[in-house]
């Protein structure tokens, strides 16, 4: 069954949704959208460095994403103006990454795979990497869920309850770096943040508790993956952008549904 490239693509996307659902909800609640951008754009630089140094691509991506996430996290804890800082970091990381890639012979042709993903070329090994990373992130978030929620709601309340908000931020930083390293193959560096935020935003209008929002975000993400793959085959469109397009359509539908219910 895994011999079929479409099955592997679908499984890869579903695995990713397990992690992006709850993590995306956290990103939305904590207003970390730009944070996701900076981290995922840094991943391109990671790929270039890994190829230049003959490191495994996954490891290179993970390391650079982690470094970027840690930098942003530290700056934000020191009270830097995040809007500007992230704007600088996200786009600089993208530019540096693209320049670095241009130095690598034979990489120019693969650039679109880096930027937009190549889900239809997912191998069995990739599948193991994706599911392993996603389950790790989902497990980490489930384990820390109560503390993460408390720290998200108020760092003061967390402190008073014996929860260290800095540690919870570190958990999220780690989770984000892993998701970026996993997702770059599927939706590409430009659209990872979209996979985090759009399904969570879709779920927001329908949820009355944090847990249902995270679960609905998993479903919305999975739906977008399956719908996007189908559309990609049917209309011969690039798979990664098709997935995000379907996610965006789901979001619009959920907003309209919410309006209708209120009226």
């Amino acid at each position: 069954m895994l011999d079929d490239f479409l099955t592997r693509a679908a499984l890869a996307g579903l695995g990713l949704s397990l992690a992006t659902g709850p993590l995306g909800a956290m990103v939305v609640w904590r207003r970390m959208a730009y944070f996701g951008d900076a981290t995922s754009h840094a991943a391109i630089l990671g790929v270039a460095l890994a190829l230049a140094t003959n490191l495994p691509v996954g490891a290179g991506t993970l390391l650079v994403a982690l470094a970027m996430a840690a930098t942003v996290s530290t700056l934000s804890a020191r009270g830097w103006a995040m809007d500007t800082t992230l704007g600088v970091l996200a786009h600089s990381a993208l530019a540096f990454g693209l320049v670095a890639v241009s130095f690598l012979p034979g990489m120019r042709t693969d650039l679109s795979a880096l930027l937009f993903g190549d889900i239809l070329a997912v191998s069995r090994a990739d599948l193991g990497w994706i599911w392993g990373g996603s389950l790790l992130v989902a497990g980490l978030l489930i384990w820390r869920w109560q503390s993460l929620l408390t720290a998200t709601l108020s760092t003061d309340l967390a402190h008073a309850a014996g929860v260290n908000p800095d540690r919870e931020r570190l958990v999220l930083t780690l989770a984000l770096a892993v998701v970026v390293a996993v997702a770059i193959k599927i939706v590409g560096a430009l659209l990872i943040a979209a996979m985090l935020i759009i399904p969570a935003a879709t779920a927001r209008g329908l949820a009355r508790s944090p847990e249902t929002m995270a679960a609905l975000a998993v479903l919305a993400g999975a739906g977008a993956v399956l719908g996007g793959l189908w559309a990609s085959l049917r209309f011969d469109t690039p798979a990664g952008p098709s997935i995000v397009t379907v996610a965006a359509l789901c979001f619009i539908a959920s907003v309209l549904a919410g309006r209708l219910r209120q009226a």
Binding site: V28, Q146, L153, S154, A158, H159, A160, A161, V163, A207
Partner: protein, 292 residues
């Protein structure tokens, strides 16, 4: 209830505490301890460091110097001065009570009922009024049998009957569970009745003691009693003190070295607010923009 003061073990204490924000020294030379079962209230003008002191005692705000000690494993119920909830986070009052420790439905319902908000259990936090949110925060603080309740302006947003009921509830909780209470309050007219000990704060401890002692302390009068009709008139109706303009400059030596321009402005501002409250008589509900 005086008489309980000083009994029981020390739950939290600070020694020679100082807190600086950048170059500004917000707190200095603070020595304070709270023992089991006592109700301690911190009063002071805006900008006097009341919230910062609470946050330092909880370990939220790092001390620039001095020591902060808390009993090991101290169970704290905390009501922060404000809770900003992002609209993107769906959270019912019931779910909020289960953070970070999950509690049973019965326990949650009992706490909400006790605080008069049993009906809002399934409402979203962002849809609650200020007073309702304040009660929900207090309900959460009560859960888990806290040994120490730390309350930062707990009655903001409450109406007059709500306020009275709230202080009664604090007294009941202390009587039942023996929990100590450390709170910041602007409700000067009830502070005196509800506290075992009052700390008058203005960057440092100006004076402290039982409400009677503090009420008669010149430092306290200097902070709250100056202006044409000081707030002291609210609870001192025997007119045994001077309301004359000279009082504005009557400061205890300990209070005197604190007249940098911004601080003085803050004091002035506070004095005006209290004076206004004093003129309004019992209409003062503590809902003004008092954010220390």
């Amino acid at each position: 209830m005086p008489g309980l003061q000083g009994r029981g073990m020390t739950l939290v204490s600070v020694q020679s505490l100082a807190v600086r924000f950048g170059g500004a020294e917000v707190l200095r030379d603070i020595d304070l301890s709270v023992s089991a079962s006592e109700i301690v209230t911190i009063v002071g003008p805006n900008g006097s460091g009341k919230s910062t002191l609470l946050r330092a005692m909880l370990g939220i705000q790092p001390a620039s110097s001095g020591r902060v000690m808390r009993k090991a494993g101290l169970r704290i119920g905390y009501v922060p001065q404000r809770l900003a909830i992002d609209r993107s986070l769906p959270m019912t009052a019931r779910r909020f009570l289960s953070l970070p420790r999950r509690v049973s439905d019965a326990e949650a319902a009992a706490a909400l009922d006790r605080c008069g908000v049993g009906a809002v259990a399934e409402r979203q936090l962002v849809d609650l009024s200020g007073g309702q949110l304040q009660r929900v925060l207090f309900a959460r603080a009560l859960i888990g049998r806290p040994e120490l309740l730390v309350l930062d302006e707990p009655t903001q947003g409450l109406d007059q009957p709500g306020e009275a009921a709230f202080y009664q509830l604090i007294a009941d909780v202390r009587a039942e569970t023996g929990a100590a209470v450390l709170m910041v309050s602007h409700d000067l007219h009830v502070v005196m009745a509800a506290s075992d000990r009052v700390i008058c704060l203005n960057g440092h401890v100006c004076c402290e003691g039982t409400p009677q002692v503090v009420r008669d302390a010149p430092e306290y009068r200097a902070l709250f009693g100056y202006g044409t009709q000081g707030a002291l008139a609210l609870y001192r109706h025997d007119h045994d003190h001077n309301h004359g303009p000279g009082l504005a400059h009557h400061h205890d030596a300990a209070c005197d070295h604190d007249h940098s321009a911004p601080d003085h402005a803050a004091k002035d501002h506070a004095a005006k607010e209290y004076t206004a409250a004093g003129h309004a008589g019992e209409g003062h509900s503590g809902t003004g923009p008092h954010h220390a």
